[in-house]
Amino acid sequence: MSAFDHQQQQQQLMRPDNVEEEEDEEDEEEEEDEQIQGEYNEEYYGSDVSNESGPETMPWIAWFCSLGGHQYFAEVADEFVEDDFNLTGLNSIVPFYKEALDMILDLEPEEDSTKVPDVSIVEASAEQLYGLIHQRFIVTRQGLQQMADKYQAGHFGSCPRTFCQSTNVVPCGRYDLPGVETVKLYCPNCQDIYSPPSSRYHNLDGAYFGTTFAHMLFHIYPELVPIIPNKIYAPAIYGFKISEYSRCGPRMQWLRNKQDPKSLDASGKLIKDSDDDEK
């Protein structure tokens, strides 16, 4: 994914020392091909004025989550980051692990850290380390609660599918390892995944949310699953439905055919008992 390759480059531009003017919200949503020029400015500086205070006056985690394009992140609790057990294995994935961890926890760098060639490299590592800690944090009780609040507040946007009636979506990854694919959005109604509409999220690693979180959230909070009538789009010409026997007839209706799992047996067949007969 070529956009993803720019990640390193972008991270170096991340410090908010030249915050751009607030931009028109609609313009972020335009097609990605319009965004060749000035892309970085729009994406990272966004419209968030709080960026200006910078990491010097704010804890690193709060600052990081306030950046434009980081609205999907929950603020990982300091205690979670401080507990080595939660970070098991990350030191072998993230370069400059120790320096990155110090940065996240707002600890002064040690004097002998001259082996670090450039602070922007540590920043890139800190983002990755934070992302991977975040993946683990958001499946804890505390993390799920935070993300449930963000979900209900609509921080992750809504499903683009018309018949999902703009129900809220949650971020997810298709891979748990970093560097494979960018973040996607899972819709609990159509149970499908979508690309975020704004290109500001097209460089965010899906691993920072992971494969488990979205489903854990609705497993722990089943009341968050929206109740929306199941509708399948039926193509028609002059009001007449197109036959499935037509060469261009519908072939994908199965994809949106959603049955209540309670009405299905383990093999996926509809259970026909007298109670459900009114259909």
């Binding site: 729009e42 703009s166 037509s246 060469r247």
Partner: protein, 274 residues
Amino acid sequence: MQTNLHSSGNPSQDMDDYTSGSDSDYTKYWIDWFLGTKGNEYFCEVDEEYILDRFNLTGLNTEVQYYSQALDLITDNLDENLDDEMRDIVEKSARHLYGLIHARFIITTHGLTKMLEKFKKCDFGRCPRVLCHNHPLLPVALSDVPYSKSVKLFCCRCEDIYNPKSSRHASIDGAYFGCSFPHMLFQVYPQLVPPKSTDRYVPRIFGFKLHDVAKQQRYQDMIREESHARIMAGIEGLPTTAAQGSSSGQQNNKNRAADGVAVATESGAMADVN
């Protein structure tokens, strides 16, 4: 609203919305101005001959206020000096009239070719569904009646409809494109229909599939296979129908009609069945 960062230097593109559009002296021709206005990227240029043929506009005079002035404005024949208020009203009517003519034009042979070019350029955006791999979309309506539903976007890969990303596009009247347009396009250009995929997203928790979702997906697989079997049987039956014209063939057709069939069945159409 601020100056748009992406505009290409064409002055008409910098106009933020319709209301600033009364300064139509930016360009000589009303249609050029209209098509260049930000938010109108989904529209194609309706042929002048099409608009000038009154037959094509049958019935629209009752649908549009100040119809004849609006038509004159679209065709750059408006001589009357209108005051600003009246000019805004006629301008608004002209946009509505253009949209309704557009809906009729894009399902003509020439209209379809114009929209096909736009489809190939991805002027209507791409499917947001990850497993559709950025397949280009086409505008479609859920109602042909004006002022009832805004335009949606049809993906012929997943055969579903989506809301436009930008609120400018999301507020366009669906009636300016109509319910039939994308399906007409694929009837005329069936080679554009992509191969259908059975790929789907499988939710997992710590690597394990979810029991309920697995059941739902097995059900979906079952109805897909049933539909596939029906289609195979239906299409195999066709040459027999054609060759013999037998009563059993007629019977076959009746069964299909019962499924809500209206569009003629085409034989030898196995290419996109998989």
